[in-house]
Amino acid sequence: MKEYTVLFNKDRSLVGILNENLKAVVPGENSLIGVLLLNSGLIHHIGPNRIYVKIARRLAALGFVVLRFDLSGIGDSGPRKDKMPFAESVIDEVRQAMDYLEHFKGIKQFICVGVCSGATASAQISAVDHRAKKAVLINPELPRRIQIELMSHISYHKKLFDLRRWRHFLFLRSNYREIFQVIGMMIIRKIRPIYVRNSQLSEFTTETVKFLRSLRTRGVRLLMVFSEDDTEHRYFQKIIGDEYGMIQNDEFFAIEKIGNADHLFTPLACQEELLNLISKWVAEDG
C-alpha cells in the first residue's frame, strides 16, 4: 500500500493524499477506477472522525486508486485566487482532481464519495461529468431553505408523548437548540402564507426526482446511506414522497440505513458498518 501527498490545480494549491495498492496495479481492473473523497463541510481531508482515512485504505486494499483532498480554503489547501462562487468552484476542483488522476494514472472512471455536503457535491459532479460512474452519498445535505421548511413538516407529535424525551428535557439533557429552532419554525409557519412553503417544497421535490432520473439516464449508480435517526433521512423521505419506494427498487439506486448512527458516524460500530457497506457496494461489478 502506498500513501503519499499530491499537489494539483494550476498553482498547486490543492492538497490531497493518494492511496494506491501497488501490488494490485497490474492484475486488477479496480486500479483503473479512481475514488474521490470530498470534504464534509469544513472538516479536512481525513473526514469526520477520520473515516475518510479508513475508507481510503480499505478501498485501496481492494485495488482502487483513492484520492482524498481538500477543496480550496478548507484544510491544508489554499484559497482560490478568483472570486468563483463555491457551488461552481466545487465542480471545477473535483474536475481538476479527475484530470490529475487521468493524466498521471490513466484513470477515466470515478466514484465520488462524501458525507453531508461532500455527498451533495458527489451527486452534483455525477450529473455534469461523464467520468463519474458511481457515487456514494452519505447523509446528503439538502439546501438550507428546504431543511427549514421540512423541519416544520416533520411530525413532532411522537416525541411529544415520549416519556424518555421529557425526562431528558427536565434533566437538562435535551438538544435545546433544536427545540427552539422547531418552536421558531412553528411560529414562522403561522405567519407565512401556506402556498409559499408548499410551492417551494413541491418545486424541490420535482427538481430532486428529475435530478435522480437524469443520473439514471446517464447510467450513474448511486448508493445513499443514511443514519437511521438522522434528520436528513426523514427530510429525504419527505422530499421524495411516493418515489421513495421506486428508488429503493431501482437497480441503479441503493438506499441503506445504519441504525444508532449520528450524522457524522461517530460511534465506532457504525463506522465499521459504513466501511463494510461501502467496500461491498463499490466492489460490486467494479
Partner: protein
C-alpha cells in the same frame, strides 16, 4: 459584533484567508515506514532572520479535528512573521500511517522528537520552539524534557492531570450520547461505549497512560522559555501556575478568553484570533 451582513469574525477570517493566499505549504511524509508521519511545512514568508524553528503539536482524538483549522491559521501567521513552521500528525492520527488504537503516549512523544529532527534538517536551524495544545502541550513538555535543542515551549491549555482529562472526555462522550436523537439508553450501554470517546477508540493501554499523567513530576531546563496559556481561570490554573512558578522562574502565564476551538463544531468557523495574535507576538518578542 455584527457589521452589516457580516460578523466581525467573518471579516477577520476574510483578511486571514487573504494572508493565507500568499502562504506556501509543503505537505510531505517523513520518518520510517510503517510509522511514517504526515507533516505540513510552512516556509518563512519574509526575510528569514530567526534563530529557531517552530513545531506545532496537535491535540489528539476529536480535539485534533476541531483544532486543525486554528493550527493552520496559527502556522500561517507564524510563517508571515518569518518562522519556519512544521505541523504534523502523530502516528495513527490524521494522515499519518497506522491506526489510532495502535498509538500510545510514548509513541506520540517519540513522534515529536522525530518531527524536531525533521524540522532541523529542513530549516537548517538547530533550536526549536514547541507549541502544543491540550494533550499536544503535555506531549511537547514530555518530549522537551529529553531534548537539548528546545529553545522555548508554549503550553496552550495543557492537560496537567490525566484523571481529570479522562473525566472530561467521558463527560463529552456522555453528552454526545444524550444528544443523539431516538437512541435508547439500553442500546448505548451495550455498545462498548466506554471503549470509545467521540469517534476514537480508548484502549485500556491509552487509558492507563492517560491516568498516569501528572505534570508536577516533569522538569524543564531552566534556560528554556516557557509560556503557559489558558483560556479560562480555574482552580487547576492556580495549581499549575504555582507549581511552575517554583520550578521555572522564567515562566510566563497568560489567561486569554477566546474560542475553545477543540470542543466546538467546525461549522461554526471559529478561529481563536486573540490567542493566535498573542502567540505570534510572544515568540517574536521574547526571542
Amino acid at each position: 459584533m455584527v457589521l452589516g451582513m457580516f460578523t466581525m469574525e467573518d471579516k477577520l477570517e476574510t483578511q486571514m484567508d487573504n494572508i493565507a493566499f500568499r502562504n506556501q505549504t509543503d505537505p510531505f511524509y517523513f520518518g520510517e515506514s510503517p510509522q511514517k508521519l504526515y507533516g505540513c511545512y510552512h516556509l518563512p514568508q519574509k526575510l528569514h532572520d530567526k534563530t529557531f524553528a517552530i513545531v506545532l503539536c496537535y491535540p489528539i482524538g476529536q480535539e485534533y479535528i476541531r483544532s486543525h483549522r486554528a493550527f493552520y491559521q496559527l502556522a500561517i501567521h507564524l510563517s508571515l512573521a518569518g518562522f519556519h513552521i512544521l505541523r504534523f500528525d502523530y502516528f495513527g492520527c490524521g494522515d499519518s500511517e497506522g491506526d489510532y488504537e495502535d498509538g500510545s503516549l510514548l509513541q506520540w512523544t517519540n513522534d515529536i522528537q522525530t518531527a524536531i529532527a525533521e524540522m532541523q534538517k529542513r530549516s537548517g536551524l538547530t533550536d526549536v520552539c514547541l507549541i502544543g495544545l491540550r494533550m499536544g502541550a503535555t506531549l511537547a513538555l514530555q518530549a522537551a524534557a529529553d531534548c537539548p535543542h528546545i529553545e522555548s515551549i508554549i503550553l496552550w491549555e495543557p492537560v496537567f492531570d490525566g484523571k481529570r482529562y479522562l473525566k472530561e472526555l467521558a463527560k463529552s462522550q456522555q453528552d454526545f450520547l444524550n444528544q443523539m436523537s431516538g437512541r435508547k439508553e439500553r442500546e448505548i450501554a451495550g455498545s462498548g461505549i466506554s471503549n470509545e470517546i467521540l469517534g476514537f477508540p480508548m484502549t485500556p493501554k491509552l487509558k492507563q497512560d492517560l491516568e498516569m499523567i501528572h505534570l508536577d513530576h516533569l522538569k524543564l531546563r531552566s534556560d528554556v522559555g516557557l509560556l503557559i496559556l489558558r483560556n479560562r481561570k480555574d482552580s487547576d490554573c492556580f495549581n499549575v501556575t504555582s507549581h511552575f512558578k517554583k520550578s521555572h522562574p522564567r515562566a510566563d502565564f497568560q489567561v486569554i478568553a477566546d474560542h475553545i476551538v477543540w470542543t466546538e463544531d467546525l461549522y461554526k468557523r471559529l478561529i481563536p484570533l486573540k490567542v493566535i495574535s498573542y502567540l505570534v507576538k510572544w515568540v517574536d518578542r521574547v526571542r
